[in-house]
């Protein structure tokens, strides 16, 4: 138990404890009438609808594009594959507080007004999310494809299957089956996305139905951004009751979405009544009328019934004038299971994705070049794309000199402390928990449950009660809560990676250690951990990058400029789209320096550790 306890403390403490503490700390009164009012409130419902649409489009487009990109890379000659891999890795490694402002600058240079209409703004954020998320999906899918024996592909080719046919029949199916869990997590994550709508469109343009006394929502306001805005606006006096209630409502929505999605993908035949009940509730009970025809299609073992219910849900959305997250999740399920459809459509989709990938490559190369050029230019306001002739004019090192004069080294040091602290603590906590889970299966089951809670809860909806709790405990403006927030977000991948690494180690060594009388701690520290160093170093690196790149947690919890990590410093120069006095040149120089330092710290580290332990 002692090995598992820190993990339990971390996950429960960062998700359940703040919610409970803030409710009983005296500043919040539970008001059920307020819950009902907020549930009917237009700003909340608009945010939920936007979140659902944003989640489905981003998740599916990233998945389709990513698997196509991975397949194309897989088929390319070695040199081009390596070049593609490097570009993907570089874009993936760019922190969001660097990549999104650059994307915004490029967007403003290309489109006169990205928020001229709701559709244009929505497409802007979709494109931004695709640009940022495509690399990781491609890299994961490529790893799956490379693990596949080439004989499968070869035998299909010999049977006369074309390139696109082989992709959809073999590679796409592998990716689809292997990544279903990742897709579901990604869907939930996008529903509470904060960074992208905050940095690109500020949730705008606003919608009339989203303008209420309880909040303001627009065509790109996700649930996460909606909560973050209200946390900033309503932070005085009696507003904590309102904030807590609103936060609880969003959390309940996310939990219901997760529960429904989990049931639907595992046992669709037993999910009809759950879906029906949620839709009627979401439709404020009037929905029971328009959903009545669904009672003729309750047997979801038959796909015609599931199709019919999806159609009824679509019709009900039009009649009632709103879209529920559960309807969207049903559409995701259908698209997942019944795709691909027809050959012609498949071909069109493949070529469309290929065009998107070509666009992605162009945007990435231009963005990197633009960032480097900007770091040597003197631009403060919106920088235009330079012409070839003017690109080399008036370049200087002034921005870099300013960084050192303005104390940027302090910010780099703060980020390093956050990264190293998160990495070191994370390795200890998650390795110990994985060891406990290895020894007793009940801990593994318990850990999976905690991770599920973390997956659903860890996000902006956790931050509201966390800020309330920290304020009550005088814990604001400290690094430790940020480290814990980073660890909480890293928990799912870090724990599972450590657990599977330990499971694969040769048990002979631990058995021999037990025979020699080693204690549990000695078995863990002196035998199991050293044997798993390569994987543990990857876990350390993963958490280190998360800590180094942390942005939302410091934005909400840190107020002293001398404690700013680089993310907040860069945000202050050009990251905030509402800034009137931007300093793009200094932002770019700081961004280049940040990425360079991160690369220097993270790239040699695993090799260094592996070398040390293998020689020792």
């Amino acid at each position: 138990m002692i090995f598992f306890f820190p993990f339990l403390l971390l996950t429960a403490g960062m998700t359940l404890f703040p919610a409970a503490f803030s409710a009983i700390a005296g500043r919040t009164r539970i008001r059920f009438d307020l819950f009902w009012e907020l549930f009917r409130d237009g700003s909340f419902r608009i945010s939920a609808q936007v979140s659902s649409l944003y989640a489905i489009f981003t998740t599916l487009s990233v998945f389709f594009c990513g698997t196509t990109a991975a397949y194309l890379l897989y088929r390319l000659p070695r040199f081009f594959r390596k070049a593609g891999f490097i570009l993907l890795f570089v874009i993936w490694a760019l922190p969001s507080f660097v990549s999104l402002p650059v994307f915004r600058a490029m967007l403003l240079n290309t489109v006169e007004n990205p928020i001229a209409s709701g559709l244009q703004a929505f497409l802007s954020v979709l494109t931004g999310r695709l640009w940022v998320d495509l690399p990781i999906m491609t890299l994961i899918a490529l790893a799956l494809f490379e693990d596949l024996s080439p004989s499968y592909d070869e035998s299909m080719r010999l049977e006369g299957a074309g390139t696109i046919d082989r992709f959809f029949s073999l590679f796409f199916q592998i990716a689809r089956k292997s990544l279903v869990g990742y897709l579901c997590i990604s869907f939930l994550d996008q529903m509470r996305d904060v960074t992208l709508p905050m940095m690109l469109t500020e949730g705008r343009p606003l919608l009339i139905a989203g303008f209420t006394p309880y909040g303001i929502a627009g065509a790109t306001t996700t649930l996460g951004f909606f909560l973050k805005n209200n946390l900033v606006d309503f932070t005085s006096g009696d507003s904590w009751t309102f904030l807590w209630s609103q936060n609880a409502l969003v959390t309940a929505t996310l939990l219901a979405s997760f529960w429904f999605m989990n049931r639907l993908f595992r046992r669709p035949e037993k999910t009809f009544w759950l879906w029906f009940g949620l839709e009627v509730l979401w439709g404020l009970f009037l929905g029971s009328l328009v959903f009545l025809p669904a009672l003729f299609f309750t047997d979801w073992k038959r796909k015609e019934h599931t199709y019919a219910c999806a159609g009824i849900a679509a019709g009900a959305s039009l009649i009632l004038g709103h879209l529920s997250p559960f309807t969207v999740i049903l559409w995701v399920f259908l698209l997942y299971h019944f795709f691909p459809f027809r050959k012609v459509f498949d071909r069109l989709l493949f070529f469309f994705n290929t065009a998107l990938i070509a666009l992605w490559i162009s945007v990435s190369v231009i963005a990197l070049g633009f960032l480097v050029w900007l770091s040597f230019s003197g631009y403060e306001y919106l920088p235009p794309f330079p012409t070839i002739g003017k690109a080399l004019e008036n370049l200087s090192w002034d921005n870099y000199a300013y960084l050192f004069d303005s104390g940027f080294l302090v910010n780099l040091k703060n980020s390093l402390w956050l990264g190293l602290g998160s990495g070191a603590l994370g390795v200890l906590i998650f390795s110990m928990a994985a060891y406990a889970a290895l020894k007793k299966p009940k801990y593994y089951t318990f850990a999976k449950g905690l991770i599920s809670i973390t997956l659903v809860m860890a996000g902006m909806n956790t931050f509201v009660p966390l800020v309330q709790t920290l304020e009550a405990l005088h814990g604001l403006n400290r690094f430790l809560p940020i480290v814990f927030a980073v660890l909480n977000q890293s928990a799912p991948i870090a724990f599972m990676t450590a657990y599977f690494a330990f499971r694969q180690t040769d048990r002979t060594y631990t058995e021999l250690g037990q025979i020699d009388g080693a204690s549990r701690w000695q078995l863990f520290w002196k035998i199991l951990l050293p044997l798993s160093i390569p994987t543990v170093s990857v876990v350390f690196l993963y958490i280190f990058i998360k800590g180094w790149s942390s942005f939302i947690a410091p934005l909400l919890l840190i107020s002293s400029p001398e404690k700013y990590p680089v993310s907040l410093r860069l945000y202050d120069w050009a990251g905030d789209p509402g800034l009137h006095h931007t300093r793009w040149g200094i932002f770019a120089a700081g961004a280049i320096l940040t990425v360079a330092v991160m690369a220097v710290c993270s790239i040699p580290l695993p090799a260094l550790v592996r070398k040390r332990w293998s020689s020792g």
């Binding site: 403003l108 006169e112 007004n113 928020i115 705008r204 343009p205 606003l206 919608l207 009339i208 303008f211 209420t212 006394p213 303001i216 900033v232 606006d233 932070t235 005085s236 306001y381 919106l382 235009p384 303005s406 104390g407 080294l409 302090v410 780099l412 040091k413 390093l416 402390w417 304020e471 005088h474 604001l476 403006n477 909400l556 919890l557 840190i558 107020s559 002293s560 400029p561 001398e562 404690k563 202050d572 120069w573 905030d576 789209p577 509402g578 800034l579 009137h580 006095h581 931007t582 260094l608 070398k611 040390r612």
Partner: protein
């Protein structure tokens, strides 16, 4: 060997720690000037002053108010941040400001008094003016307006400019910073008792008028200021109402422009700035006196209006600023304004001017939002 390398690596980063003894948060223009003055002060008084520029100061103060230990010794704020910091600010001890006691402008004293005491030291003000792109006027042979012009004259001018194929005027639709000058020029929403009433007949008239400008193609939306500056520099938009702080930027960018007072009765918003003392009064006040001694440079370089009598404001455009001050509006310093009015009117303006809603319900919702804070 590897362990030593790692340890050295750690120690190197630990050593990069800056010791701060006296912190000043600044924002807006003049960062280089503050640093120069701080450096000169350090050499004279042997007291180190750390100047920390904070671009999004309101958000930092909102988080900082929850952790008073993290507040700086001295902070430059604007009037709408005052309600946020008033309770934590130390009362101003004018006697410690050698030679400057009793010289603060009445506007500043009224704005920054709370609980019967002055809680921030008035510093300077920015004035709203109307910038005209003179190259556009010259090209189309349109005479520049007189300084005592009216909103009707402005509409006639916009008609002419529009006929020439130029966007007559532009700013962010959702900007209460610009709108409130029209609101208070044609009516009154900011009541003497500190309450705010936006659902008035006069406001409805003003909003309908602005909407007609949009429909006529006279008024273009610029959601972000950099895009507005870019188009103004390029001559794509002929007029922009903005603060006088943009003058040095236009000079640097070599934009052909001039500045005129806003047309009557459109009021010019006076955006005042003041210094709030949170701690270390013994160190802070001598520095402030030192700063005020050199303030004329800041006013000249950044087109500021000094709020301290006897310190000359900039001479350039002095007539324009004088006329603007006669028809001016000081931003309220209440929570209902900074947290309620600002957010609600941003939404109301954006939705109505884009043609997305009816005026009465929008103003009703805005009023309901504001009422939560008053």
């Amino acid at each position: 060997m590897t362990k030593r390398a790692i340890l050295s690596y750690f120690l190197l980063f630990i050593s990069v720690t800056v010791g701060l003894s006296f912190t000043v948060w600044v924002s807006w223009e003049g960062e280089d000037w503050y640093r120069t003055v701080a450096k000169a002060y350090a050499e004279t008084a042997q007291v180190r002053v750390e100047i920390v520029p904070i671009p999004a100061l309101d958000q930092k103060l909102q988080v900082g108010m929850k952790t008073p230990d993290t507040l700086p010794d001295l902070c430059l704020i604007k009037s709408d941040y005052f309600p946020l910091v008033a309770s934590s600010a130390l009362p101003v001890d004018s006697g410690r400001l050698l030679g400057y006691a009793g010289r603060f402008a009445e506007i500043g004293i009224q704005t920054y008094t709370s609980g019967g005491a002055l809680r921030a030291v008035p510093f300077y003000a920015d004035t709203q003016v109307l910038f005209l792109q003179t190259a556009v006027f010259e090209k189309h042979q349109i005479p520049l307006p007189e300084s005592d012009w009216t909103v009707d004259d402005l509409e006639a001018l916009m008609t002419r400019l529009h006929a020439c194929g130029v966007t007559p005027i532009g700013w962010g639709f959702n900007s209460p910073y610009i709108f409130q000058g029209l609101q208070e020029g044609f009516g009154q929403s900011f009541m003497p008792d500190g309450t705010i009433r936006v659902k008035t007949e006069e406001n409805q008239g003003v909003l309908r008028r602005l909407r007609s400008w949009v429909v006529n193609g006279w008024f273009k939306d610029y959601p972000q200021r950099p895009g507005l500056i870019k188009d103004f520099s390029a001559g794509k938009v002929a007029m922009i109402p903005q603060g006088s702080y943009l003058i040095p930027n236009f000079d640097e960018m070599e934009v052909p422009y001039t500045a005129v007072p806003l047309p009557h009765p459109w009021k010019s918003v006076i955006d005042t700035k003041a210094w709030v003392v949170f701690k270390n009064e013994v160190l802070v006040y001598p520095f402030l006196s030192f700063l005020f001694d050199r303030m004329e440079e800041l006013c000249a370089a950044h087109m500021k209006q000094s709020l301290i009598e006897g310190i000359p404001s900039t001479e350039r455009y002095s007539e324009v600023f004088e006329k603007s001050l006669k028809n001016s509006l000081v931003q309220p310093s209440t929570i209902a304004y900074s947290e309620g009015y600002w957010t609600a009117m941003k939404a109301c303006l954006e939705l109505y001017l884009r043609g997305e809603g009816e005026l009465q319900p929008l103003l009703s919702t805005a009023q309901a939002y504001i009422d939560q804070f008053q």
